[in-house]
């Protein structure tokens, strides 16, 4: 661990390489986190199933690419559309029954859905670690001391495009306005003629679509596995609590930061503790922020 720490200073290229890798992965995490912030802000639900939706998106890409032989990149929009309908279905079957309940109930309900999805994916796709082969190379700089994987860069571009589209959709479209109105005050929005149930369904489906696209990128740049979902849920949650609800810029910065922090941590303490680091970081940030608030006799709400 100390050796690796010193290595970061002796070979600055390693430090730069780790930073770049981390930031490129962080962009995907930010995308999933934005979806979580959307559902949290509009519906007041912490969506524990978030990570499973990401992984499911990855499996859609993988299945399509293996079955039809098309390049995995083209499956990103397909995964998003399929996940949109799956999200809509999940809302209509379960979520609309718990949307007005206590937050604890919705956490438990989405936890239950996440267990169902995990086990279904395990049954259908098998418990192996999988990833999609994109056939892309990487660019090398400084005699290949620093490499830039092309698929990571492409996925960063896709994330930027999707994020721009999302922001425009929420700002400009009629549905986007209804979603923002519901987030501000659901009761007032209902009085003004907004069909809030439809808004909730769309928001949840939109979140699932975002997760689907994110998962599709994850399977190309990284790996997927039926039981990796919870880590993505916690990453999203972590990014949202750091950035705050409805703050796109904050989510992106926090996402990139988390990606970099994770990459450095797994370099320093070993990749086997990467997930543990993410979970502990979340606990530490929660407690730390709460202690800061408690000095003013307040607490995290």
């Amino acid at each position: 661990m100390i050796d690796n720490f010193l290595l970061l200073f002796q070979a600055p290229t390693v430090a730069v390489q780790t930073l770049i890798d981390g930031i490129l992965i962080g962009a995907i995490l930010a995308l999933a986190a934005y979806g979580m912030a959307l559902v949290w802000g509009v519906m007041n639900i912490i969506n524990i199933v978030q990570g499973e939706l990401v992984i499911l998106g990855g499996y859609i890409t993988l299945t399509l690419a293996n079955m039809t032989g098309i390049h995995p990149l083209w499956t990103v929009p397909i995964a998003a559309v399929v996940m949109y309908f799956i999200g809509y279905g999940i809302y209509k079957i379960v979520i609309h029954r718990v949307v007005d309940e206590d937050m604890f109930i919705s956490i438990l309900a989405t936890f239950g859905i996440s267990i169902i999805l995990q086990q279904l994916m395990d049954q259908v796709f098998g418990a192996d670690i999988q990833s999609a082969d994109t056939g892309f190379d990487s660019w090398g700089y400084l005699d290949d001391a620093i490499t830039l994987s092309q698929i990571h860069v492409i996925s960063l571009v896709i994330v930027i495009v999707l994020a721009t589209f999302l922001v425009l959709y929420l700002k400009r479209s009629k549905m986007g306005r209804a979603i923002r109105a519901t987030a501000q005050d659901a009761r007032a929005a209902r009085i003004m003629g907004v069909d809030t149930d439809h808004v909730y369904a769309t928001t949840y489906a939109l979140n699932a679509a975002i997760c689907g696209a994110a998962g599709s990128l994850v399977v190309m740049t990284w790996i997927i596995h039926p039981f990796l979902g919870l880590a993505y849920t916690v990453r999203s949650f972590l990014i949202v609590i750091v950035a705050g609800l409805g703050n796109m810029v904050g989510v992106i910065i926090a996402g990139l930061g988390l990606g970099a922090a994770e990459q450095y941590a797994s370099f320093l303490i070993g990749i086997e503790f990467r997930v543990a680091f993410v979970f502990l970081l979340m606990v530490v940030i929660l407690i730390w922020r709460n202690i800061l608030l408690s000095k003013e006799r307040r607490y995290l709400k």
Binding site: F104, A109, Q118, D122, A276, L280, L286, L300
Partner: protein, 349 residues
């Protein structure tokens, strides 16, 4: 001899005789008492104190590892033992086994309570859903740490020493551990019953109802919350060791820090029975465990999917639990007077 004495007597006799009558189901029956212990100790925070923890499994897993490490460590070097997993060298004789178990459970209890006390004041300062997710993260983080720690076998787990043949006069491994779980569940039940009836129990309920007011009334809420967590941690850590030895293999994510099975089941069982009551978790655990065993027998391969469906169904359609339903239906049996002249709008809340 009043009513409740008869009730406890019958349950006690049933608990003692059950594994002898149904000798084929000793393991399942042992798990039943463990589930009751899970639900009871979870309800101390979730039901009585209003702190919905998803991470109480942490103490269970910690206890399991500490107990196994002490038991092995008294005779062998733990690192060498785990590295040579599956070899025949890991046998203990009866005396070593029992001393190891006793000392291990003791050490586990100490470690569990110490960890609860240490992290309690920090994490119990969180409220509502932040507490729920924070504890969830903590439980899984510990699982991941043990899954990366080579000394205790990392991800491939740790196999506690097999039950020595010379101890067969105790009735065999399954019966022996059955009685340990039975005893732990019974002790936990009466301890918690005593606590809930005391001033401390009232303080717990005060925190659940309005923590700020409770603090304003002069209750030391941080201390009370931490002590209550320590009580749960004590029983969970004690139960961890015997379970590891009953199962015969400790997988860091699946057996010890099993957040998505035991960790969530303990919440569900308490909710199914009825949060905030002493009998609710017991009834909920019994029903849940029997259902779970049926799933296991009839839906093999899909039982875990079925468990997920069961969780969603309970949460969505039955959030007040069996005791809550009984209470709504026959309020007078619970000592609540219903004034029929007043409209009962929203009385259920």
């Amino acid at each position: 001899m009043n009513n409740s004495m008869i009730k406890y007597g019958l349950i006690g006799i049933a608990g003692i005789l059950a594994p002898i009558v149904f000798a084929n189901f000793q393991v399942q029956l042992g798990f039943l008492w463990l589930m009751i212990l899970f639900a009871l100790t979870w309800d101390t925070q979730g039901g009585q104190m209003g702190y919905n923890s998803f991470g109480n499994i942490l103490f269970f897993g910690l206890g399991m590892y500490v107990c196994a490490m002490v038991q092995v460590g008294l005779v062998y070097d733990v690192g060498v033992y785990t590295a040579a997993a599956g070899l025949d060298s890991g046998k203990l004789n009866g005396e070593q086994y029992l001393t190891g178990l006793a000392l291990g459970m003791g050490a586990a209890a100490v470690v569990g309570v110490a960890v609860a006390a240490l992290i309690g004041s920090g994490i119990l300062g969180l409220r509502g859903h932040y507490f729920a997710i924070g504890t969830l993260g903590l439980g899984i983080a510990f699982g991941e740490i043990f899954a990366g720690w080579d000394y205790v076998g990392a991800g491939s787990g740790l196999a506690p020493p097999p039950f020595p043949d010379e101890l067969d006069f105790l009735g065999g491994r399954n019966l022996f551990f059955y009685y340990i779980f039975f005893a732990l569940a019974v002790i936990a039940f009466f301890t918690l019953k005593k606590i809930y009836a005391s001033r401390f129990g009232l303080a717990l309920n005060a925190i659940r109802d309005d923590e700020d007011k409770a603090e304003a009334m002069g209750l030391r809420t941080v201390r009370i919350k931490t002590i209550s967590w320590c009580v749960s941690a004590f029983f969970l850590a004690l139960a961890g060791g015997p379970l590891g030895m009953l199962v015969g293999f400790i997988d860091p994510r699946e057996t010890a820090f099993a957040g998505v099975t035991f960790g969530i089941w303990m919440v569900l069982m308490a909710i199914l029975g009825g949060k905030g009551t002493i009998w609710g978790p017991v009834i909920g655990a019994a029903i849940f465990h029997v259902t779970q065993e049926f799933f296991w027998s009839f839906l093999l391969g899909w039982q875990r999917v079925a468990m997920g469906v069961l969780i969603v169904v309970i949460v969505v359609f039955f959030p007040r639990g069996i005791m809550g339903w009984l209470r709504d239906t026959w309020p007078d049996r619970f000592g609540e007077k219903v004034d029929e002249s007043v409209p009962q709008e929203g009385a259920a809340q």
